[in-house]
């Protein structure tokens, strides 16, 4: 009886130690930052933005054998980044549900933007001479006209690195640097894409037409 009790105590202690050890190898990072608004001139269009569930609740999970498991929550940061970009890049921007648009959205918008986070990769060094945590991510921006026809489907990527100190803090910082790079590329290059330039010119021409003239094919 006494021996069984001792075995039970030893098992509990070993289980606690094992749980503690395994728990210490699991890292969870919720990407947090305030993205600044880009200092740019807005494009002369009004857009709606479709935020799908995958984008605003994006979680990245990776198990690195014999090292650690990482869970990275990017959803809130994704939405903050796109909200700030849309606010500065366009005359007006509103979230919309999906296609087909409501009659109100159809009349007040020129197009609809749908962002996706396509790829997320990271590297946290565990030894050797590597001094930086590195993050690479690729977004995809789809621009539709109000009928739902695709105007452009643009992949845009960003890279960030941060000095290795506390691994979670460094990963957060590297991810924010990569997202800021994506924001920099989107805010300065999206309006210069040939399809987008053509679409904006088309919208401008259409809006310039007097109301009594109807365009027929």
């Amino acid at each position: 009886m006494q021996r069984e009790r001792h075995h039970s105590v030893i098992k509990s202690v070993l289980f606690s130690l094992a749980s503690g050890f395994l728990g210490s190898c699991a890292s969870s990072v919720d990407i947090e930052t305030d993205f600044p608004l880009p200092l740019i001139e807005p494009l002369p269009v009004r857009v709606g933005i479709i935020y799908d569930e995958l984008f605003v609740r994006y979680e990245y999970f990776e198990e690195i054998p014999r090292q650690a498991t990482w869970t990275i929550f990017l959803g809130d940061a994704n939405q903050d980044l796109l909200d700030g970009l849309a606010q500065s890049m366009f005359l007006e921007a509103y979230p919309v549900e999906s296609f087909p648009l409501t009659s109100t959205d159809f009349s007040r918008l020129d197009g609809v933007l749908q962002p996706e986070l396509e790829k997320f990769e990271f590297d946290v060094p565990v030894g050797g001479n590597d001094e930086f945590v590195e993050v690479w991510m690729q977004y995809r921006l789809k621009l539709f006209d109000t009928d739902g026809d695709l105007v452009t489907d643009w992949p845009v990527s960003g890279y960030g690195k941060a000095e290795l100190g506390n691994k979670e803090v460094a990963l957060n910082r590297a991810t924010v640097v990569a997202m800021r790079e994506v924001g920099a590329a989107v805010s300065t290059r999206f309006g210069e894409l040939p399809q987008v330039e053509y679409w904006i010119q088309e919208r401008r021409d259409k809006n310039a037409l007097p109301p009594e003239i109807t365009v027929t094919n």
Binding site: P38, R180, G183
Partner: protein, 242 residues
């Protein structure tokens, strides 16, 4: 007689051990230190005036290295502190207010790029609102360039002890390039190279004699920058590095 000889022999061995220990410590101390080299070059007579500010930014476009955040903070804080402290603008605030134009992929690499950037809508007004006249670009890093030796430790019932000698060299090499946002030119550069050699002799216990070249580079570069920004063309021989 025999006892006396033995006793003298033991004393002699103890003396020799003490002598060896002293030599090792003296060698260790003399091997530990920082060698500094600074090359300032100022090509205009621009100086910072009252109400004008300076901002310290890190060059981040290299794949292999970038000036450490703590080094940028060290220079910013040291430049702002003291009786002759300058008005230093926050690096983060500057990058945020001018986002995205000072992100790694878009930051101007030359004063020609800067001129083009300032012509963009809203950029010049924002820069003027910050009050920043001088931008100091820090490029470089502190790296371990060499290491060697070894220390062995053993522990037993009676205690623990270490024996050996380890050493390493850290090289803090930085360039500070100063741009004048008013004149739209490069005011000059300061090159700083601080090579620090640290040693750790271990005789029973390890004795770390650590050189801190990055901290010394921060101090040296700060003093040079202060002179650079407050003295006109040909501003003197530089700081006393001790």
């Amino acid at each position: 007689m025999l006892y006396r000889q033995k006793s003298q022999s033991q004393i002699s061995i103890m003396m020799k051990l003490k002598l060896c220990l002293c030599l090792v410590i003296i060698n260790g101390i003399s091997a530990c230190g920082v060698t500094a080299r600074m090359e300032p070059y100022k090509q205009t007579d621009s100086v910072i005036a009252d109400g004008e500010r300076v901002v310290i930014l890190a060059r981040k476009h290299h794949a292999t290295h970038e000036a450490e955040v703590e080094f940028v903070d060290c220079i910013s804080n040291a430049l702002a502190n003291g009786s002759e402290g300058l008005d230093v603008y926050s690096t983060t605030d500057f990058e945020d207010q001018l986002y995205p134009w000072f992100e790694p992929s878009l930051a101007p690499l030359s004063t020609n790029d800067l001129t083009v950037l300032l012509e963009r809508p809203g950029v010049l007004d924002t820069v003027e609102n910050t009050g920043v006249r001088f931008v100091v670009w820090l490029d470089g890093s502190t790296d371990r360039t060499a290491s060697g030796g070894g220390i062995s430790c053993a522990a037993g019932v009676g205690g623990a002890a270490c024996m050996g000698l380890a050493w390493w060299e850290d090289d803090a090499r930085y360039d500070a390039t100063i741009w004048d946002l008013q004149e739209l030119n490069s005011t000059g550069t300061i090159y700083a190279d601080f090579l620090g050699r640290s040693v750790m002799p271990a005789i029973v216990i390890p004795i770390p004699l650590i050189a801190r070249p990055q901290a010394q580079a921060c101090q040296g570069l700060t003093e040079q920058l202060r002179d650079f920004l407050t003295s006109p063309f040909g501003y003197g021989a530089g700081p006393n590095l001790g």
